[in-house]
């Protein structure tokens, strides 16, 4: 789930950069220094998720878990994800600095949106919690794929069919993200509900 630098046009790159800057700024504003260490650790954990390969069908995919981070951190997920992405860029050269804006919007935007949207469900029964987890994971990934396809299409309408391909190929990933997020939410709710801002 990364777009590399050579594909997008200036308007799309600029648009992504602006959106990511705004999102990060809001996230940072809502984040006081008392929480910054926790957010750093979660950001690092998010990075580690991208090193976990989960089998699906004959192949495997690596996790993203943006929706989960959104549930835990709300707006704080935005800077956390941007930092993790920039570290990935440095370590693995998956997409450079210029596309950081676009990649940030693609991944962190849906993560925050889904986190805020589904968090209220977490206060409900176990079943509701798991539903919230699944939806957050699935929808965040779905929206990310839509945004990615959109960024490609906006750059060059000739990419239309490729964009469709990207969207379709991410469908299994959405399911995996949903299922894993569901189980992790259920794990956290039992083991340490404070992480989800729930009272034990």
């Amino acid at each position: 789930m990364h777009i590399s630098e050579g594909i997008l046009t200036a308007p799309v790159l600029t648009g992504g950069a602006v959106l990511t800057t705004v999102g990060t700024a809001i996230g940072l504003k809502k984040l006081d220094y008392d929480r910054i260490m926790t957010v750093s650790l979660l950001s690092a954990t998010f990075f580690v998720a991208s090193l976990i390969h989960v089998p699906i069908g004959p192949g495997s995919v690596h996790l993203l878990l943006g929706g989960l981070l959104g549930l835990i951190l709300g707006w704080g997920a935005f800077p956390a994800i941007v930092v993790a992405l920039s570290l990935q860029a440095i370590f693995f050269q998956y997409g450079g600095m210029l596309v950081l804006g676009v990649n940030g919007t693609i991944i962190a935007g849906p993560a925050v949106l889904c986190g805020l949207l589904f968090h209220p469900l977490l206060t409900g029964t176990r079943k509701k919690q798991m539903t919230a987890g699944f939806l957050a994971g699935f929808c965040a990934m779905f929206l990310s794929a839509v945004l990615m396809a959109g960024a490609l299409y906006l750059s060059d309408s000739g990419f239309l069919r490729v964009a469709g391909l990207v969207l379709a190929s991410h469908f299994p990933v959405m399911l995996i993200e949903g299922v894993i997020t569901m189980f992790v939410v259920s794990f956290l709710a039992r083991v340490q509900p404070e992480i989800l801002s729930l009272t034990p």
Partner: protein
């Protein structure tokens, strides 16, 4: 797995100030990213390859990195010639190959690799922590560079923690397959890592408070860029200008 294999070395590139290198990378990769002509992209790719060779990267590691990134390019080469453009096509048995698509795929490959070379030559030759400090000096908000530096510091600890749990699962006969049990196990491994991270965050926060931290991160002064750094910056900007000029000429033709 997480490592900075290119950051050690003592070449001209390793010695440059990280701020300068960040500016240089941004300038060159911006010109490359926005260019639309194959000759310009090819020229850029050659120049950045030369830059990269000056930083003397480990060849084996370099080729591995190149292969990783070019798996994506391969995807482009498979899809674009079949889907991109309306112009001439070549009939290859039952496939319609679009020439526009091939042109586009070539352009993207050149740009992607050019930017990658530039990145490896300039940024990968600095340690991540010095880049973090460099970002702060360049006006990135302090909270963000703070987050960046601490996240970097914790990556290794957390990754190790995850790997140890994964090992425990393996020893108890866990063999990943397409099953709900597999997904649940990964969730538990990750969930436990998350719980540990959360609690560690709390303890580290205490450690910071005990050392007088009150919400303001005071940087320890970093070395200032010297004359050589400014010359270096000048050359990098010159390269970007040259490429930008070439683009301009090729567009107006």
């Amino acid at each position: 797995m997480i490592d900075e294999p290119f950051a050690t070395g003592s070449t001209l590139f390793h010695k440059r100030d990280p701020k300068i290198k960040i500016i240089g990378t941004t300038a060159i990769s911006m010109v490359l990213a926005l260019c639309t002509s194959i000759p310009v992209a090819a020229t850029g790719c050659i120049i950045t390859a030369i830059l990269l060779s000056f930083s003397r990267p480990n060849f084996k590691l370099l080729s591995r990195r190149l292969i990783q990134v070019n798996i994506f390019t391969l995807f482009i080469w498979i899809t674009l010639p079949l889907t991109y453009g309306k112009g001439e096509t070549i009939q290859l048995s039952f496939l319609n190959i679009h020439l526009d698509g091939i042109r586009m795929a070539a352009l993207i490959s050149l740009k992607t690799n050019g930017i990658l070379f530039c990145f490896l030559a300039l940024l990968a030759t600095s340690s991540t922590s010095s880049l973090g400090h460099g970002l702060e000096k360049l006006g990135v908000p302090r909270k963000l560079s703070f987050l960046f530096l601490f996240t970097y510091r914790q990556l290794f600890v957390i990754h190790q923690e995850y790997l140890r749990l994964q090992r425990a699962a393996k020893l108890r006969g866990f063999t990943p397959n397409n099953s709900l049990h597999t997904y649940q196990t990964y969730s538990h491994l990750f969930g436990m890592t998350l719980v540990k991270s959360w609690n560690r965050g709390e303890r580290i926060h205490q450690a910071m408070i005990l050392r007088g931290f009150n919400g303001r991160l005071i940087p320890l002064t970093q070395p200032q860029p010297g004359k050589a750094d400014y010359y270096f910056l000048f050359v990098m900007l010159l390269i970007s200008l040259f490429l930008a000029g070439l683009s301009f000429v090729s567009v107006s033709q």
